[in-house]
């Protein structure tokens, strides 16, 4: 199967970015969202970014649609709707009926088990995780998640497709947090523990990790940038995924900050104060 037409469901932050990446790589793109206003907004932002790159000619390959049934002719579909299992499962059920049996059905989920999304859906071998990082047009990594029932051949196709998109894919077995969100946990979690135990301050730890360790940003400045609520939710999801393995235990300090609504840069304050 030669991949020519790519469908994307969900035209939010990730879906719009992924659509841009696919356009830039020369694919016919079918961008689907339940909400027409979101589609129009996505088209606007994609247009602006492609104009900056002098690639607006690829816009003729962008098709905006509101019905999943209009994705029937796509060779690959990437799902990027909000992070709710039941919503994603319903979409994959519908996709499985609409799309051909040899299409690749991919989910951009950042924390839900791809095995659970695919369970009970006809031809689960074609369902894989395809985890982009935000912003999708800039970040080079895609984690290709191989679920319990995903096919090895299909996994190879997904890896090749990611490479065609100009990305650097890594192959990952379905497990909580995949690679990146899992292995990065101690950077935040242990830093929080060290503060909680009174060993060093937030500012000191950031200075030490950049000065002694060569990290580009300290763990607290980085949490402020990501959003402390987002970071906390990721930790909780990995912690639950590992049946409460103590290595991943969330921090009470972080929980208090989420409760207080001091979530980082986006609220003007988190571990640091921001004025603009």
């Amino acid at each position: 199967m030669e991949i020519k037409r790519v469908g994307i469901i969900g035209a939010g932050t990730m879906g719009a970015g992924i659509a841009q990446v696919c356009l830039q790589s020369g694919y016919q793109v079918f961008l689907c969202d339940a909400n027409q206003q979101v589609l129009d907004k996505a088209k606007g932002s994609i247009t602006a970014r492609l104009q900056k790159l002098n690639q607006e000619d690829t816009l003729s390959n962008l098709n905006l649609i509101t019905q999943i049934v209009d994705l029937a002719s796509c060779h690959v579909v990437i799902e990027a709707v909000p992070e709710r299992l039941e919503l994603k499962r319903a979409i994959f059920q519908e996709l499985a009926q609409v799309c051909s049996d040899d299409s690749l059905l991919l989910s951009n989920t950042s924390s839900i088990s791809i095995t659970e999304i695919a369970a009970g859906i006809p031809h689960p071998e074609r369902i894989l995780g395809f985890h982009f990082f935000n912003p999708a047009p800039v970040m080079p990594l895609v984690e290709v998640i191989v679920g319990y029932q995903s096919g090895q051949e299909e996994a190879e196709q997904a890896l090749q497709f990611a490479a065609k998109l100009g990305k650097k894919p890594v192959k990952v077995k379905d497990s909580p947090g995949f690679i990146v969100n899992r292995v990065a946990r101690p950077y935040y979690n242990e830093a929080l523990r060290i503060v909680g135990d009174g060993i060093a301050s937030v500012e000191q730890i950031d200075r030490i990790m950049t000065g002694a360790g060569g990290f580009k940003m300290g763990p607290f400045a980085l949490q402020d940038l990501i959003g402390i609520d987002i970071n906390f939710a990721t930790t909780q999801s990995v912690y639950q995924g590992f049946f409460q393995e103590s290595r991943f235990k969330p921090s009470r300090l972080q929980e208090r900050m989420v409760q207080a609504g001091t979530l980082g840069k986006k609220t003007g304050g988190g571990f640091y104060e921001y004025t603009n």
């Binding site: 192959k171 990146v180 830093a191 135990d197 060093a200 000191q204 200075r207 030490i208 940003m217 393995e245």
Partner: protein, 253 residues
């Protein structure tokens, strides 16, 4: 030119030679216990063993016996607290902890951790000493592994658990972390640079000190240390390295 500061450096493992080299390069006069003989007139003594605490204890006690009481005894605290090291000596007030990971020339900051017993004047001398090496310093509370070695070791430990579980190949784990989070090195490649024995001594030290499951060392890490696959320095770790010239290895795969 003023007379060079004399420093006694003791330590088995990768940090001994590294500290000697660094100090010599910066114009310090470096001696070992044997060279110093009886006429010990050094201004500072460093003990930088991390992987073997029995040896560390012997060396620290020997230094404590030999050195005049006012000479600062600066000890690495990657695997043990400064407070515990101080408790091995008859002059605990002169002991002060510090530490970082190799290679020493890369980081521009050294962490200093005074023991509960450390005299404030010794702490001040320690800070002056590391500043003279051109390093910034941060004084943190005394706990095994300080801040940077502790956090990096636990990232490496998690990468090894993922490897044990066959979640991904070593190259994919490293590529994922470099591209997904902007780390300067992938964690497995980083472990090879630092030395697996050093990483293991931090995690095992935290596990022994805290008695928490959270700090359980990945079994493969321990096995690789036992097998002598300590990383770049010996030509084999998570990757293999070709010997370029004596003591110098290039990454092969």
């Amino acid at each position: 030119m003023s007379t060079p500061i004399k420093v006694l450096v003791e330590g088995v493992g990768p940090q001994g030679d590294a500290w000697k080299g660094m100090l010599q390069e910066k114009g310090f006069l470096v001696q070992s216990i044997e060279e110093a003989g009886d006429g010990l007139d050094v201004q500072f003594a460093l003990e930088v063993t991390n992987s073997d605490l029995t040896i560390k204890r012997q060396r620290v006690q020997k230094l404590d016996q030999m050195l005049p009481t006012g000479i600062p005894l600066l000890v690495t605290t990657l695997a043990v607290t400064a407070t515990e090291v101080a408790s091995w000596t008859r002059h605990p007030q002169r002991v002060c902890g510090f530490g970082t990971f190799l290679p020493l020339e890369e980081g521009n900051l050294i962490e200093i951790a005074p023991a509960l017993q450390t005299d404030p004047s010794i702490l001040a001398q320690a800070a002056t000493f590391f500043s003279a090496l051109g390093k910034e310093t941060e004084v943190v509370e005394d706990e095994v592994g300080l801040v940077f070695p502790r956090i990096l070791s636990l990232i490496i430990n998690e990468a090894i658990f993922a490897l044990i579980e066959r979640v991904a190949e070593p190259e994919d784990i490293d590529q994922g972390m470099k591209l997904g989070t902007n780390y300067p090195f992938g964690p497995l490649r980083w472990a090879d640079r630092v030395g697996l024995d050093e990483v293991y001594s931090v995690i095992d030290g935290l596990h022994r000190e805290m008695k928490e499951e959270r700090y359980r060392p990945a079994p493969l890490l321990r096995k690789m240390v036992l097998a002598g696959w300590l990383g770049e320095g010996v030509g084999r770790g998570f990757y293999t390295y070709e010997i370029e010239k004596e003591g110098n290895y290039a990454k092969q795969s």
